[in-house]
Every structure is written in structure tokens, then in C-alpha cells.
């Protein structure tokens, strides 16, 4: 495997990072909305978001990407693979992050909400200033764990036909017939992205466990 092949892999890596960042950012924004709706106390909103989360947690990411990819085309939105995969991963992330954050919003002691209400803080201020800062702290290890899942999930974009790291690996391996070397390197590149996050997540978790003792 020569220098050009490696550079091609790095170009794929760039798209993997871009996909992960976009899906995580938009997933955070929409995931927050999902979590807020899921804990809103409004029965129909809670039902709807619970169903939304159950669907995404009960089906394979690959199928979700397929359905979004072909579904968008169906309703007349022409998108290239990159945009369609971003939408698919964003929806996936919003459901999972929504569920993680629902858990952490509910883990904030009730007294906090009651105290905020007693101080006559409105919903927005109550959430923004009291509940969410604590919930985010609680959710951080799980959120980072999901980010690792998401980075690994971007590899499925290759099956839909988007050239990110895994597909770049596929292309190179078909060219130079050294699949083990190529996928070994691809694996190492993913590992270098994910492992620091995993270690950081585990570190945070230990810190919180120690703090809550």
C-alpha cells in the first residue's frame, strides 16, 4: 500500500469526521427537543416521542438510512448521498440522545424543579438555568458513549454509497488486493478516533461515581 492509497483513506476519514460532527450537532439540537417533549407532561407529546424513540431503537441503523435515503427522494426532495445520510444519522442521533437526556432530566432531583417553581421561574428559565445544567452533567458519560456509537455508525453510509472511510477502504482493497492491510489500517483509524472518547467517557463516569458517594 503506497502513499496515494493512504491519502485516499485520509480523504475518506475527513468525510467520516464531517458526517459524525454534522450528525452529532444536529442530533444534539433535535435530541434536546425530543427529550423536552418526552418530559413535558403533555400526554400526547410524551406518547409521540416515546414511539419515535422506540422505532429508532428497535430497528437497525442500516434500515433507517435506507428508508430515509429513498423516502426523501419519494417526497420529491432530491439530495445527494451525503445530505441524505446526514439526515438519517441526525434522526437516529436525535432519538438516542433524546432517550439518554430524558433519563438524565428525570434523574435531577424533583426538589430542584419544585424549588424553581416556588421561585416562580417560568418553564424556559427553569429548564435552562436549573434542570438542564445538572442533567447535562449527569448525561455526559452516556452522551460520549453514544458519540462513539455514532462515529462507528457512519461506516454504514458506505453501504448507501457514500464514500467515507470504510468505503474508501473498500475501493482501495479492491484495487490493491490487500484487504487485511487496508481494513487493518481503516480499523486503526477508527480506533484512534473512538478510543480517546471512550477513555474520556470512562474517566468522567468514574469522577461522577466518586462525586456522588
Amino acid at each position: 500500500m503506497g502513499r496515494d492509497e493512504f491519502l485516499f483513506l485520509l480523504a475518506g476519514l475527513k468525510w467520516t469526521v464531517a458526517l459524525s460532527v454534522v450528525a452529532f450537532l444536529f442530533g444534539c439540537i433535535s435530541g434536546l427537543l425530543v427529550a423536552l417533549a418526552r418530559t413535558s407532561g403533555i400526554a400526547i407529546l410524551e406518547r409521540l416521542t416515546a414511539g419515535y424513540i422506540a422505532i429508532f431503537q428497535g430497528t437497525p441503523l442500516l434500515m433507517q438510512l435506507f428508508v430515509v435515503y429513498y423516502g426523501l427522494a419519494l417526497i420529491g426532495i432530491q439530495m445527494d448521498a451525503w445530505a441524505a445520510v446526514s439526515v438519517g444519522l441526525t434522526l437516529h442521533a436525535s432519538a438516542f440522545l433524546g432517550e439518554i437526556w430524558r433519563g438524565s432530566i428525570e434523574a435531577v432531583p424533583r426538589g430542584q424543579t419544585e424549588a424553581a417553581k416556588a421561585l416562580s421561574l417560568g418553564y424556559i428559565s427553569r429548564m435552562k438555568d436549573v434542570v438542564l445544567p445538572q442533567a447535562i452533567r449527569i448525561s455526559l458519560p452516556a452522551t460520549i458513549g453514544f458519540l462513539v456509537q455514532l462515529i462507528k455508525g457512519t461506516s454504514l453510509a458506505s453501504i448507501v454509497g457514500f464514500t467515507e472511510l470504510t468505503r474508501a477502504g473498500n475501493i482501495i482493497s479492491n484495487q490493491i488486493f490487500q484487504p487485511l492491510t487496508v481494513f487493518g489500517i481503516v480499523g486503526v483509524l477508527y480506533f484512534l478516533m473512538c478510543c480517546p472518547l471512550t477513555i474520556y467517557g470512562a474517566h468522567l463516569e468514574r469522577k461522577f461515581v466518586a462525586a456522588s458517594r
Partner: protein
């Protein structure tokens, strides 16, 4: 937008799809069994007195947990023939699923084993139980109950992961649906239906796990 949904190819392919569901179940169950074996073996290695073995197990777990399954399955798919093992895609997928699930199982089971206090092990040894008996009766069963929820949700994930085995064209739901899709070009209809199938599959799995738990793990704690 003048597209009319046409589910005819899906309805015609229904028998094939239902058989493929069985394929998905087979992959999932065989993968789980292998994962449990690897998980238990890994935990034993992880606690062995030999430093190198402990270290290798940790490296294995972290390597698997921090790389995508798709890359793992490709690697195994190409590595097995080089090692002189010629297998069809489906057994290859089972091995990949087992290795992937096994790495997660090691971490989960280890957490359960650590939750058993040392005093209980010592009490077991003091009663004259053999080391293997202590492991099976005092460590394994209570630990299994403690880890049951996280282990089963990991298995649901493993079941959903089987769809990635379509990348090496193992026999399961996704690869069969891809074949129907490429014959009929009714992509959305096919994948929409198959997504619903997966939802049912994971729901059925969850029910089975819950049933099993209420039968075998419902004895009182204290």
C-alpha cells in the same frame, strides 16, 4: 411528485422475507451463544494471574468496542480464508457477531462478577466448595441476574446488527430485501416493510427475554 406506492413486489416476496426473518433469528441466536462463550472465557482470562493474558483481553475488548462492526466483519471475512478456514458468508457472519458481542459481554459480565462481594467467595471456599463450584454457584448465577438487563439490551443491539451482515451477503433479512429491491426498484416500499419486520423482531426478542427473566430470576434477593 407523482409517485404511487406499489407494494406488489413486497407482497410477492413475502414468503422469502419471512424465511429471511428466520435467518436473522438464526444469526442473532448463534451470535449470542458465541458471545456468551467468549464473554465468560474473556472474564476468566481478564482475571487470570498472568499479566499478559489480562492485558490481551483488555486490548481485545477495546479494539472491538472502538471500531465499527462493518470493518470487523470485512476483516474477518478476508482473514479467515488466509488462515486456511473456508466458510460460507453466514457462518462467517456468526463468528463476527459472536466476536463483536463477546467483547461487550466481557465488559458487562465483568461488572456483574465484580458486584459479587469477596466475602461470599471466601465463604464458599470455607464451606469446602471446589473453585469451579464457587464460580458457578456463587459468582455466576447471581452475577447473571445482576447483568441480565444490560446483557439482553446488548443482545437486542446484536440482533439489529445482523443487518450489517448483508455486506458480506450472509443469509438474513436485509440481504434478501436488497435482492427484492434490486429486482423491483421499489426501494422505499421494500425497506419500509422490512424496517417494520425488524421492529417486530426486536419486540419479540424483548418479550422472550422478559419471560425468561420472570421465570428464572424472580427468586427473592434476601
Amino acid at each position: 411528485m407523482n409517485y404511487t406506492l406499489d407494494f406488489t413486489p413486497v407482497i410477492e416476496g413475502l414468503p422469502n422475507l419471512l424465511w429471511a426473518c428466520l435467518g436473522t433469528f438464526t444469526l442473532a441466536i448463534c451470535g449470542m451463544l458465541l458471545a456468551i462463550v467468549i464473554g465468560i472465557g474473556g472474564v476468566i482470562l481478564r482475571q487470570s494471574p498472568v499479566k499478559l493474558l489480562r492485558w490481551l483481553t483488555i486490548a481485545f475488548v477495546e479494539l472491538i468496542r472502538n471500531t465499527p462492526f462493518l470493518v470487523q466483519i470485512f476483516f474477518i471475512y478476508f482473514a479467515l480464508p488466509l488462515a486456511g478456514i473456508r466458510l460460507d458468508p453466514t457462518p462467517t457472519a456468526i463468528i463476527a457477531l459472536g466476536i463483536n458481542g463477546g467483547a461487550y459481554a466481557i465488559e458487562i459480565i465483568r461488572g456483574g462478577v465484580q458486584s459479587i462481594s469477596k466475602g461470599q467467595v471466601e465463604a464458599g471456599l470455607a464451606l469446602g466448595l471446589h473453585k469451579a463450584q464457587v464460580f458457578r454457584l456463587i459468582v455466576l448465577k447471581p452475577a447473571l441476574r445482576a447483568i441480565y438487563p444490560s446483557l439482553t439490551s446488548q443482545f437486542i443491539l446484536l440482533t439489529l446488527t445482523t443487518s450489517i451482515a448483508s455486506a458480506i451477503s450472509a443469509y438474513e433479512l436485509t440481504s434478501v430485501s436488497q435482492r427484492i429491491e434490486s429486482d423491483s426498484f421499489r426501494s422505499f416500499e421494500v425497506y419500509f416493510t422490512v424496517t417494520a419486520f425488524y421492529l417486530v423482531i426486536s419486540w419479540v426478542m424483548m418479550r422472550i427475554f422478559a419471560l425468561f427473566s420472570s421465570r428464572y430470576f424472580s427468586y427473592p434477593v434476601k
